[in-house]
């Protein structure tokens, strides 16, 4: 029950923060749903990271989310190429488990955004692709920051 309460608090915080940013930027709520979905994935497996690993994940998740979003867009424009990239990304995330706990952690970070783009297809404003890319990165950062903050507060 506590894990679920902490998890939903992280999801609500991520969604709320990203929704406010989307409203301010005048774009649809798709990045807010992306942030919430990422927070759901992060809440499923709470990790006790040291400060260095926390920073590394904080930096990595938005980058991977952006990469996965590009794959998601490729899946819509060039489905076969997108499918190949998707399969490669997910296969890599599992194969990395061969390299111990560190490899598994990197693999989980890679796999999460790929799972999320299947659940929440991005709707990018074709007139402002740069803004769309920026919002995906911000969604990744906000999801991680909110989940981490809520988990820390909950002890």
């Amino acid at each position: 029950m506590k894990v679920a309460l902490v998890g939903i608090a992280g999801v609500l915080a991520s969604f709320g923060a990203m929704y406010a940013i989307c409203a301010y930027a005048g774009v649809n709520a798709s990045p807010a749903i992306l942030a919430a979905a990422l927070a759901v994935g992060l809440a499923r497996r709470p990790e006790r990271l040291d400060p260095r690993a926390t920073l590394a994940k904080f930096a990595a998740l938005p980058v991977v989310a952006f990469g996965a979003a590009l794959v998601g867009l490729t899946l819509r424009a060039l489905p076969v190429l997108g499918a190949i990239l998707f399969c490669a990304g997910v296969t890599l995330s599992i194969w990395l488990r061969n390299f111990g706990e560190r490899g598994s952690a990197i693999g989980r970070t890679i796999a999460l955004p790929f799972l999320v783009i299947l659940i929440v297809p991005l709707h990018v404003d074709s007139g402002r692709p740069g803004l769309g890319a920026l919002l995906v990165i911000v969604a990744g950062a906000i999801a991680f920051a909110c989940t981490y903050a809520v988990q820390r507060m909950a002890g």
Binding site: A4, I8, I33, R44, V80, A83, T91, L118, I119
Partner: protein
């Protein structure tokens, strides 16, 4: 080939199949096929596990979609209501996922349906398509785990059971083993074989794999319960770290206040442990209203007239095969004589746990204290410091030289410092990993 490379190849094939079928047959909804293949294949530890997760996914999706149809029919379309329902369902899913994945699958499906419903795509008409996509995705994952470097579930179960039983055997020999790890490993492979037993029953003469798991888990849980013994070490020392002098009379280190406090602490424990050498030298009374008295002797060389054997409390002597005969001849029924495989703290605690001891008060002497403190086999240390010196290098010290687990880099946690009469009493906590 490692298990992870094998799982990565299975995932690659499952996703390739799902993409091929999804993109060719379900142009708009290919993601439902791929998502299911991803979920069912992800972390599947064997063929049975993939089938089990596939069934849960399909069952959960059907349940979730039916609820979505009902919700879309009776709850008016409204952004705020939809959002509220979505977050409530999400919370329920996150909570119930710990009970069974099917609940999460149902809640997730309901959320997708509500999200799409809010975008003008009603859940009802797509029900059949959704279920068909999910079934095909599950079949893609099952096919990949079945044909690409497959792992037979029964073999996997027998391997895990064998590992757990080896750990239990090692434990009886006094070795430290992470039984929780084996319990979790068995639980991970258990659901598909339990489902198989529920559906097909038990056939044949050899026990069903699910029965093997249940039996082994019961033994692991019992062993964990028995090993959950709290150890409290108590010692009084002089300012220069001695627990006695070399005279025949016992050196009194504690003040009356410290003695009273220490005896009160004794009463909280099931048993008091004192080494045989201390019994022979000091003949302590070990007075306690409730606690059993315990000693450890390899030789069995104990005098039956010692106050330890006065019969006023339950008395346990831990010994090896060599000491057992001598003790039975000398003490007879005056104490419970229990064989211990080894004389290290882990084996002593495991054996005492079998005797029903859940909390142990360790009082000395030097060999016993050194063994327990060096191995870190204690939860708390009570150290009373008497305000004088012994000053005899041949006198028994608090501990002998040893490789202590708690060195400068692994410090104990100081919990309290008290003045009891003229004694300083320090209490340390040793958090067990």
């Amino acid at each position: 080939m490692t298990i992870h490379t094998r799982m990565a190849l299975q995932m690659l094939v499952a996703l390739a199949l799902a993409f091929a079928i999804g993109l060719l047959a379900f142009a708009q909804h290919w993601s439902w096929v791929v998502l299911t293949a991803f979920i069912v294949c992800s972390g599947a530890v064997g063929r049975g596990d993939a089938i089990y997760k596939g069934l849960l996914r399909v069952g959960g999706a059907i349940g979730g979609t039916l609820v979505a149809v009902v919700v879309s029919r009776f709850v008016p379309a409204n952004g705020v209501i939809d959002a509220t329902v979505i977050f409530v369902v999400l919370f329920l899913g996150m909570w119930l996922r710990t009970i069974n994945y099917a609940y999460w699958a149902a809640c997730a499906t309901l959320i997708f349906a509500l999200l799409q419903g809010s975008q003008g795509d009603a859940a009802g008409p797509l029900f059949a398509t959704r279920v068909l996509c999910i079934m095909i995705g599950a079949l893609c994952a099952i096919a990949a785990t079945w044909f690409i470097y497959p792992v037979r579930t029964e073999q996997l179960v027998r391997k895990r059971v064998s590992e757990a039983r080896a750990a239990l055997r090692d434990l009886r020999g006094g070795a430290e083993r992470d039984l929780h790890h084996h319990l979790a490993q068995l639980e991970r492979v258990a659901p598909p074989v339990r489902l198989h037993r529920a559906v097909f029953g038990t056939r044949g003469e050899s026990p069903h794999p699910a029965t093997l798991i249940d039996e082994t888990q019961a033994r692991l849980r019992t062993a964990i319960e028995r090993r959950n013994v709290r150890v409290y070490v108590s010692v009084a020392v002089s300012l220069d770290g001695y627990i006695d002098d070399r005279s025949s009379a016992r050196l009194v280190l504690s003040s009356p206040e410290d003695l009273a406090d220490m005896r009160a602490a004794r009463e909280l424990c099931d048993a008091l442990l004192v080494g045989a050498e201390t019994l022979r030298r000091d003949d302590p009374s070990l007075r306690s209203l409730n606690a059993a008295r315990v000693t450890v002797t390899e030789s069995g060389d104990l005098d039956p007239t010692l106050r330890f054997f006065d019969g006023s409390a339950r008395t346990i002597v831990l010994t090896g095969a060599a000491g057992e005969r001598r003790l039975r001849e000398r003490i007879g029924d005056g104490a419970e004589i229990v064989l211990v495989d080894r004389f290290d703290p882990a084996a002593i605690i495991a054996t005492l746990a079998d005797c029903g001891v859940h909390s142990l008060f360790v009082e000395g002497g030097t060999r016993i204290l050194t063994a327990f403190l060096a191995a870190g086999t204690f939860d708390a240390l009570r150290l009373g410091i008497a305000p004088f010196f012994v000053g005899d290098a041949q006198a028994p010290r608090f501990v002998n030289a040893a490789a202590f687990l708690n060195d400068a880099k692994h410090r104990l946690v100081l919990r309290s410092v008290r003045a009891l009469g003229d004694m300083a009493v320090l209490e340390y906590e040793h958090p067990r990993a």
